[in-house]
């Protein structure tokens, strides 16, 4: 066992890091308030060495110091452009609020803030190192939360107009508040924009398919496919994911080099490989016992080996440890448990498996044959691994 001394590569992250489609690069975004606005810094790390490969900054002028800026880097497969989707939320006013204190029952009076959000886009060229933008979008008042994905030519962006007190009639008419917009990479002007079907963008997994379309896994059970050419959205159910149970499950979706899509739903004890070219027909379905923490962080509970022949998954709630399944047959191929319950599982570029847990040793390493390689202590709580 060893003890790790963390080496910080960035502080005050504006949002979770994002990995490139080939997993070679990790993007970090930070926000620093400066005298004339918000300074957005994008740092691209070599995923193997954690060395800084590229770094660039842009200042969004006019953003007050008490604003919140959410930055989402978006890699574009087949392009050197990294899009930055900025959600800028600024205080729009103050008002005196009278509200009952739930703990004491007494009426309290205090100043409260009203917030307004809009989005902006910027683009980083990994070739030249230049940032284009920011381009402010005319979507205020909007919800800051958005979903985005890119292909080699376009950025697809799901946003939601913030409902207002006077919107009752429109909402009862079931008008969609969400929009899907398609921006040419490098541009702040959408070449297409239209209503988007529910649910509102809220952190659902998205992947870019080889043909440039974008798939969005919604409700933990359906895939919405957005045509990058027309914006048309079609929806397919994933039968293996079945009806929703009482508790949601973590869900993940990844594009495979062969064009297939790998999806996991550990709360239902199932992972599937599906073929987007055949209306998401399931080509492999692997069932496993539900692990102890199927919804908590990290959301990666099951991983597929690089060649796609083995599924590694957290062990059952009763025993913990790890399990490996043969993808072709769906049968259990190997298991290992020393009684520890792990919360997340990753496969590193070296092929080594990394399992994380609540107490030290928080990091445990295994070979692809599930042989323990070692453990490490850290004083960090692990929410995700990149």
């Amino acid at each position: 066992m060893s003890s790790l001394s963390p080496v910080p590569v960035a502080l005050r992250l504006a949002a979770a890091p994002v990995s490139s489609p080939d997993q070679d690069v990790t993007a970090l975004a930070t926000v620093d308030m400066v005298h004339d606005g918000a300074k957005i810094t994008l740092t691209l790390l070599d995923a193997t060495s954690a060395a800084v490969a590229r770094q660039a900054s842009v200042i969004v002028t006019g953003v007050p110091g008490d604003a919140n800026v959410l930055v989402t880097p978006v890699f574009a497969p087949g392009s050197a452009i990294v899009s930055l989707v900025l959600a800028i939320t600024i205080p729009a006013g103050k008002r005196l609020v009278r509200k009952v204190d739930a703990r004491t029952g007494s009426l309290t009076t205090r100043w409260a803030t009203t917030w307004r959000s809009h989005h902006a886009l910027a683009y980083f060229d990994q070739g030249s190192g230049a940032i284009t933008g920011p381009f402010h979008l005319p979507d205020e008042p909007s919800l800051a939360l958005s979903t985005s994905a890119a292909n080699s030519s376009d950025l697809l962006l799901w946003t939601t107009r913030e409902p207002q007190p006077g919107d009752r009639t429109e909402i009862r008419a079931q008008a969609s508040l969400s929009r899907l917009s398609v921006f040419p990479l490098g541009s702040g002007t959408a070449r297409w924009s239209g209503p988007a079907p529910a649910p509102w963008p809220g952190g659902e997994p998205v992947v870019t398919l080889p043909n440039g379309d974008v798939a969005r896994l919604v409700r933990g059970s359906h895939v919405q496919v957005c045509s990058s050419r027309t914006g048309e959205v079609t929806e397919q159910g994933i039968a293996a994911f079945g009806p929703a149970r009482a508790k949601p499950s973590a869900v993940t979706m990844q594009a495979r080099p062969d064009g297939a899509v790998f999806m996991t739903k550990p709360g239902a004890g199932v992972a599937v490989i599906a073929d987007p070219a055949q209306e998401y027909r399931t080509t492999a379905r692997i069932q496993f016992p539900v692990p102890a923490s199927p919804l908590g962080a990290p959301w990666s509970k099951a991983v597929l080996s690089p060649v796609g022949d083995t599924l590694y998954v957290l062990g059952p709630a009763a025993t913990g440890g790890l399990c490996a399944y043969d993808v072709r047959s769906g049968r259990l191929a190997a298991s290992y448990s020393e009684g520890r319950q792990y919360a997340g599982l990753y496969q590193l570029p070296s092929g080594t498996l990394l399992a994380v847990r609540a107490e030290n040793p928080r990091l445990a390493y295994f070979s692809s044959g599930l042989s323990p390689l070692g453990t490490a202590d850290t004083n960090l709580h692990v929410s995700a691994v990149f």
Binding site: A87, R110, S117, A144, A198, G203, A250, S293, H381, S383
Partner: protein
Amino acid sequence: MTGYDTASPIQDTYASAHAEFGADPAFWIRYFTPSPAAYLFSDDTLTESRAAWDSGGPNVGCVSAPIQSRLSGSAAEGQADAQAYAASMLAAYHAVGPLDLPSNGQLYCWLDQEYSTPLSSSYWNAWANYIAEYDFAGLGTYPLYPCLYCDPYSPYPNCSTIAKAHGVNVPSAIWSSEPEPCGSLTSPPRWNADVCQTVPTKLWQFGEQGACNYSANVDLDVGAPGFVTASYCFRVKSRP
């Protein structure tokens, strides 16, 4: 008073739950944006509200379960998640005429923090503050109250995070996911929910579907002695 929480639409759930437990729930707790892995109440509020009425439990509480790694994130992430949550509750309120706010003016808004999820002060304070200060429907009554669903004895930061909160950022209540002795809708276990030091536990998930082998897609919850959970939920006052 006992009730259900579920990530499944009420209309797909209440008949099987009634068949299994033989009684009407006092309340339902349903998921709102952002809950990327759940069916959302706000996606079909009309059908869900009718089903809540038909189930005999016309009170709908609110929970949001964001991607769990976000809960250890920044203030910008916490505020963005709270903004979407408040907006989806407003959309639901607008969508159905007979969906009323609680008569006591306090709608409890639960944030789902799972066992293995760390909660940062940056995220919580921004999340709770936005919820507490949201001018819901322009009413000027500020009826949203931030609350936390968690496993109080998890080794990850949860109780210790909210213990550092001040003013309106202090949650009004804890909804504890442990222990899990199971039981039924009509005979819940004696009150024994896990607690945080600084905030009272007012709701207890004593039976989880998977651990208790319930066939209906529901978890079972009971309010603390003297706490009427249904009074802190949306109320469907007539069949929509």
